[in-house]
Amino acid sequence: MFFPPLQPVSTVQSCVSGDVSIDPSASIASGVLLQADPECRIVISAGVCIGMGSILHAHGGDIVLEAGAILGAGVLAIGQVTIGANACVGSITTLFNADVQPSEAIASGSVLGDRSRQIVLDGRPGV
């Protein structure tokens, strides 16, 4: 699978909009975007770490990062997402309406919650 290189962060500050609560012990890298649509919440618990340039967009439900969860650089979480306590989500992973169990480790570059039609090209799935 191909991944575009992580782009340098262009926004000076992180951007927070909507109902977002962040525990004071959480650590959020530069260029992170936290956006909760109306009637949705984003909850960042104690000891959570979010890598640079990650985007969390709560839509149709809440995004909850439980205590000690960590998201690598360039992670995209969109829709309704729960990241269990101490889970580790590798960089440039996409989570679309998907949950991660407590203490689970998700390899970098994964896609969770993709329910689009899979087809086989050139004898290899999706390639």
Partner: protein, 193 residues
Amino acid sequence: MVVRGLAAPPTPWSKSLAEPTIDETAYVHSFANLIGDVRVGPNVLISPGTSIRADEGSPFYIGKDTHIQEGVVIHGLDRGRVIGDDNREYSVWIGKQVSITHMVLVHGPAYIGDRTFIGFRSTVFNARVGEGCIVMMHALIQDVEIPPGKYVPSGAVITTQQQADRLPDVKEVDRQFANHVVGANEAMRPESR
């Protein structure tokens, strides 16, 4: 919480750049970064955390009713142009009612036809993607021309014309899933709040 800033790198060649032209009905979030000759059509939505820089390749065209979601990067090589639907040359042409979803990279020369959908974190570089295509997530489209109405599954790497010509047609189920994904950004539009 600890939040530290990172200053945007200065671009020495950007001093004499043309200013973007933005239709008054377009919505460009204040955390979007547009520079150079970017022509933004009516009712376009440009989300925060996007970087649209016509500072090397230019101009860029973004057609009516198109959505550019968070984290999208649009940039162009110095050389290489595509022919837009108005028969003029562009570094990046994006037609009308297009959905460019989160963290997509569009690198000119690139043409994306009307009503096409580009899924999360996919890349279009030095390519033409025809009208009404659906490109799913984490795909790469480079050095090819994709005919109109084709479906590119998640994770696909399409870098030869032979691969592009063998792609299947979009099905109704694909259109439904794409609409479901795009739904996440409809609420962004200020008038729908």
